[in-house]
C-alpha cells in the first residue's frame, strides 16, 4: 500500500487538504521514502511517525517547513514548496502509509516523534539506509543533511570558508522557534572556538543540534564527538560512536532521525535493544500518540541518561582541551601572531643595506671562494656573526624580510640546532655561502633568545647576519684575502690550521657581537609588542564600553 500510494503522493499531498496536520513532512518525500524503504530499513521510522504525528500536537510549522525544505530538495529536488503544502495535506496520506508500513518497523515508537522528526527522518531515510548501517549515531550528520546545511550556509554566507556572524546566525536559528535558552545552549556547544561566529562545521553542528532538538532529542551537555568540527574525518570513530550511541538510539528510535540506521545497528549489536524498541513501539502504536509520546519520551530520556554519562566523558576531555587551546585566543584578542603582524605592518622595512652589502660581500666571497681553493678559508667569510643592532623598525622588517627570505630563514632555522656545533663548524667546515653567516648567527642568537619567538629570531637572524656579513667582510676580506692567497701558494696544513684559529677567533667575536645585537633587537621588539598589546587592550576596552552602552538599551 505504501508504495503504491506513494506513486502520486506528491500530487495527492498537494491536493489533499491536510489541515490539522501540523507541519507534516512533505509527502512527496514520504512517497519517495516509501520507495526507499524497500531499500532502507530506516523507512519504517518515518512511516510510523506520521500516524502519531497527527494526533499529537503538531510541532511548529516553521521548523518543519524549513527542515522539510531540504528534504524536498533532496528527494525530489523540486518539491521544496510542494513539501510545504504537502506537509499539511500529506498528513493524512502519511498516516495511511504509516499504518500500512510493515510491522518490522513497529519497533519505533512513532507516536512520540513530532513532525519535525518526520522531516528529519525523511532526510535520513533517503541516504542512511543506503549509506551504511553503522551510522546509527543520532548525532552524526548524514550526507543529505550535510548537503542541506551547506545550502543553508551558502544562503547566509556564500563563502564556505568564511564565518557566519553571531547576529546573522541568531536571526537564522531563531526561525527554528526553539526557546532562546536552548538556542543559547546550542550555540555554546557548537561554537567551539569561542569567537562569536560560526564556521561551516560549527554551523553544521548547530543546525544538527537544532534539528535534533526539534525531533525531540534532549540537548546534550557536551558536544558529541561526531559533531565536533572534525566529524567528517573520524571514520574510525564509528564503532565507538555506534557503541555509545546504541542506547541513545534505542531510546529515541522514533525521534532519532538516524533511528533507521540505529535499528539495524542495534539489532546487530545488542539483541536486547530491539526488544526494548519493540516494547516502546508497541506501546506507542497502541496508545494515544500524544500520551505515548510523552511517556516514551520520558522513557527515552531516562534511558538515555544511562549512556549519556559515558559518552560525554570523552567529549568533555576534548572540550576542555579545545577550550583551553582557544582560551587564550578568546581571552586576549590578539595572539602573538597578530601582534607580530601588527608589528610588521606599521614599520616599513627600510631598504636593506645588507642586500647591497651582501652583494658586495658575496662578491668578496666569490672572490674569496675562487681564491680560497681549499674552500675552508673562503667559508670563513660567510659566517661573520656580529652586526650592529638594528633599530626597532628594522626588527619588524625582520619579519617581512624573513618572509621574503624564507629560504634564508629555513637555512637559519635548521641551523638553530647547530648552534652547539657552531664552534665546531668554525673548525670543521665553513659554508662558502652567504647563508653561512646567517646560519651561524641563527644559532648564536638562538641561545640568547631561547624564550623569544623564534620567528623573530629567525627574522632577525636573517637580517642581522647580513649586516655582519657586510661589516665582517671588509675586515675579513682583508684577512681572508691575504690568507687565501697565502693559502694558495702554501696549501700546507699548518697554515690552514693557523687560519682556522684566526677564523675561530673572528667567528667568536662575531658571534658575541651578533648575540648582543640580537639581544637589543629582541628587546626593542618586545617593547613594540607591549605597546601593541596596550593598543589592543584599549580597543577591547572601547568595545566593552560600547557593549555597555548598548546593553541599557536592550535591558531598559
Amino acid at each position: 500500500m505504501r508504495y503504491s500510494s506513494s506513486i502520486p503522493p506528491s500530487i495527492e499531498a498537494q491536493g489533499a487538504p491536510c489541515g490539522p496536520a501540523s507541519g507534516a513532512v512533505t509527502w512527496t518525500p514520504a512517497a519517495d521514502r516509501s520507495t526507499f524503504r524497500h531499500l532502507e530499513a530506516n523507512v519504517d521510522k518515518k512511516e510510523q511517525w506520521s500516524p502519531p504525528r497527527s494526533p499529537c500536537s503538531s510541532p511548529p510549522r516553521s521548523p518543519l517547513t524549513y527542515r522539510s525544505y531540504p528534504y524536498a530538495k533532496q528527494r525530489n529536488g523540486v518539491d521544496a514548496q510542494i513539501a510545504y503544502e504537502s506537509k499539511h495535506s500529506s498528513r493524512p496520506m502519511v498516516q495511511l502509509e504509516q499504518h500500512s508500513s510493515p510491522s518490522n518497523y513497529g519497533t519505533k515508537p512513532t507516536a512520540e516523534h513530532p513532525a519535525m522528526a518526520r522531516a528529519s527522518s525523511a532526510e535520513r531515510l533517503d541516504h542512511q539506509g543506503v549509506v551504511d548501517y553503522t551510522d546509527d549515531d543520532p548525532w552524526r550528520i548524514t550526507e543529505e543533511q550535510l548537503e542541506y546545511y551547506t545550502n543553508q550556509f551558502k544562503s547566509l554566507q556564500p563563502d564556505l570558508g568564511a564565518l557566519i556572524l553571531g547576529a546573522v546566525a541568531k536571526n537564522f536559528f531563531t526561525k527554528s522557534k526553539l526557546p532562546i535558552p536552548e538556542l543559547s545552549h546550542i550555540w555554546e556547544l557548537s561554537d567551539v572556538d569561542r569567537d562569536g561566529a560560526l564556521t561551516f562545521s560549527e554551523f553544521c553542528t548547530a543546525f544538527h543540534l537544532i534539528v535534533a532538538r526539534k525531533n525531540g532529542y534532549p540537548l546534550p551537555e557536551t558536544l558529541p564527538p561526531t559533531l565536533r568540527p572534525g566529524f567528517m574525518q573520524p571514520a574510525e570513530d564509528i564503532p565507538n560512536i555506534a557503541e555509545s550511541a546504541e542506547p541513545l538510539i534505542v531510546f529515541e528510535d522514533t525521534q532519532l532521525r538516524h533511528s533507521q540506521v540505529d535499528r539495524s545497528v542495534v539489532e546487530r549489536h545488542q539483541p536486547s535493544l530491539p526488544t526494548i524498541k519493540q516494547e516502546l513501539t508497541e506501546e506507542s502504536s497502541q496508545q494515544d500518540v500524544g500520551v505515548k509520546r510523552g511517556v516514551t519520551c520520558q522513557e527515552k530520556q531516562t534511558l538515555q541518561l544511562g549512556p549519556f554519562p559515558e559518552r560525554p566523558e570523552p567529549p568533555q576531555e576534548l572540550d576542555p582541551q579545545m577550550r583551553m587551546k582557544t582560551r587564550p585566543r578568546s581571552y586576549s584578542s590578539t595572539s602573538f601572531e597578530d601582534a607580530m603582524k601588527k608589528a610588521e605592518e606599521p614599520p616599513t622595512p627600510p631598504p636593506r643595506p645588507q642586500k647591497t652589502h651582501s652583494r658586495a660581500s658575496s662578491l668578496d666571497l666569490n672572490k674569496l671562494f675562487q681564491q680560497g681553493a681549499p674552500g675552508v678559508k673562503s667559508g670563513w667569510l660567510p659566517p661573520p656573526p656580529a652586526l650592529p643592532p638594528r633599530p626597532p623598525a628594522s626588527q619588524v622588517p625582520h619579519f617581512i624580510n624573513v618572509s621574503e627570505k624564507t629560504p634564508q630563514n629555513k637555512v637559519q632555522q635548521p641551523n638553530f640546532a647547530d648552534f652547539t656545533h657552531f664552534r665546531e663548524e668554525e673548525e670543521s667546515s665553513v659554508k662558502p655561502e652567504e647563508q653561512g653567516p646567517r646560519s651561524r648567527f641563527g644559532p648564536s642568537t638562538e641561545d640568547l633568545t631561547n624564550t623569544s619567538k623564534q620567528d623573530i629570531t629567525a627574522a632577525s637572524h636573517g637580517q642581522v647576519p647580513q649586516k655582519p656579513i657586510r661589516r665582517k667582510y671588509h675586515p675579513e676580506s682583508q684577512n681572508l684575502e691575504t690568507p687565501p692567497p697565502s693559502a694558495m701558494p702554501f696549501p700546507t696544513p699548518a697554515k690552514t690550521s693557523q687560519k682556522l684559529l684566526s677564523r675561530q677567533k673572528r667567528e667568536i667575536q662575531m658571534a658575541i657581537r651578533k648575540n648582543k645585537e640580537t639581544n637589543a633587537v629582541l628587546t626593542r621588539l618586545n617593547s613594540e609588542l607591549q605597546q601593541q598589546l596596550k593598543v589592543v587592550h584599549q580597543e577591547r576596552v572601547t568595545l566593552e564600553s560600547q557593549l555597555e552602552l548598548l546593553r541599557p538599551l536592550a535591558s531598559t
Binding site: K170, S330, Y331, A554
Partner: protein, 139 residues
C-alpha cells in the same frame, strides 16, 4: 573553594549570583551588595583614564571573621565577587586570581553568545559548570 560567587552588572544589579545552598543565601546576597561599595571605592581611587592598564583584580575587599570577600572588575564595569570561607586558609592570592580569570573567560564566552542579550541574567550551562567547579563541594 568559594562559598558564594556573584556577577554584578555595570548598573550594580546582579547578573548571576550563586552561593552554597546549605547556608543562608540572603546573607551572602547582602554581603555582595555591601561589597559593591568597596568595589566602587577601589575603582574610583585609581583615577586614571579608562584605557590605562588598571588592575582588574581588586584583591581582598574586606574580611570579616566568617569570610573574606574578593573583587574583580572588568573594563566594562562588570564586577565579579567571590566570597570565601575564612576558615579556608589554604587559598592563596594566586588561586583567587585564577578563579577570577576563569570566571572572566567564561563570562566572555557568554557574552559572545549571540542569543544572550547583555544585561540579561546569565543562563549558560557552561558558566554554571565553571562556577560549580569553584564552589565549595558541600553536600
Amino acid at each position: 573553594m568559594a562559598v558564594c560567587i556573584a556577577v554584578i552588572a555595570k548598573e550594580n544589579y546582579p547578573l548571576y549570583i550563586r552561593s552554597v545552598p546549605t547556608q543562608n543565601e540572603l546573607k551572602f546576597h547582602y554581603t555582595v551588595h555591601t561589597s559593591l561599595d568597596v568595589v566602587e571605592e577601589k575603582i574610583s581611587s585609581v583615577g586614571k583614564s579608562m584605557g590605562d592598564q588598571r588592575e582588574l583584580y581588586l584583591g581582598l575587599l574586606y574580611p570579616t571573621e566568617d569570610y573574606k570577600v574578593y573583587g574583580y572588575v572588568t573594563n566594562s564595569k562588570v564586577k565579579f565577587v567571590i566570597v570565601v570561607d575564612s576558615s579556608n586558609t589554604s587559598l592563596r592570592d594566586n588561586e583567587i586570581r585564577s578563579m577570577f580569570r576563569k570566571l572572566h573567560n567564561s563570562f566572555t564566552d557568554v557574552m559572545c553568545n549571540p542569543f544572550h542579550n547583555p544585561g540579561d541574567h546569565i543562563q549558560s550551562k557552561a558558566f554554571d559548570g565553571i562556577v560549580s567547579g569553584m564552589m565549595v563541594q558541600t553536600g
